[in-house]
Amino acid sequence: MTVAIIQFGGSNCDQDVLHVLQDVVGLDARLVWYKEDDLSGFEGVVIPGGFSYGDYLRAGAIAARTPIMESVKRLAAEGKPVLGICNGFQILTESGLLAGALTTNMYPKFKCQSTHLRVESTETPFTSSFRKGEVVRIPIAHREGNFYANEATLAQMEHDDLVVFRYVDAKGRVTDEANPNGSQENIAGIVSTTRNVLGMMPHPERASEDILGSKDGLKVFLSMADHITGSA
């Protein structure tokens, strides 16, 4: 029951995710260099944050078209959990595993700050340990995190309960001030229609231990571990 953490050239949150999964959650995890394109035997995948391919062309665009992503798609099609964090989220939208696109922040600057998120759906393998409507604190660090989808897609996502996290203020209200990047409808994280692929711009691995100031993000990995150990 091992989780693959995919490393592309330019990934830089891979070790943090490995630490949280192995040392904090106690789940078996292994770093997988993107040239190893066989993921059979893994029970889940995390695509960590960073700047794969230096964000050339568009953030995530080139990594999304590497052969290992075909293996990720196969795993996703088998129903196994796939989590993309930050650049991982960008890779998942670029690969077509998730809807929409992540574009330049409304104020076109790299933003590294703590954000409040509201958990909109607990019906996913990554959020089952949260309470619906719970407000949590998880930091962001990105320049291309402005979620965009056309109106029809947004309406469908709303209807299908695919929005998992929204940026809110400390009281849980969706406001423009609480939206750090201009994302439509304050969207911070979404799942696929099959619900087993989650992309989120905030970094749960940076909020998984008390020493980091918040351990709200840990529940993402605990939920994932529950799902994997329970379903295997």
Binding site: L57, R58, A61, I62, R65, T93, E94, G100, A101, T103, T104, N105, M106, Y107, P108, N146, Y148, A149, N150, G182
Partner: protein
């Protein structure tokens, strides 16, 4: 035959263009007041092909598969023989 394509990638109309907006604001500080400023990216692609038609189809596929993101971008291709 050799061809060269200029591919221009633009954001679809109605999409936010934060860089364009920032540049517009900077121009206003300098005393210029353009109606709008939009950013785009240009890629120049040289390729070998049997015909203009084949070259265009080839570059269109490149745009669809990688160079543009059809969710947010429009693209235009200008092709010439070199």
């Amino acid at each position: 035959m050799k061809y060269e394509a200029d591919v221009i990638i633009e954001l679809k109309s109605g999409m936010l263009d934060p860089e364009g907006t920032t540049i517009k604001r900077a121009l206003e500080h300098l005393g210029y007041f353009p109606e709008s400023v939009k950013t785009s990216k240009k890629y120049t692609i040289a390729l070998e092909s049997n015909s203009m038609h084949e070259a265009r189809e080839n570059v269109e596929q490149m745009c669809e598969k990688l160079i543009a993101n059809p969710i947010i971008h429009n693209y235009t291709i200008t092709l010439r023989e070199i």
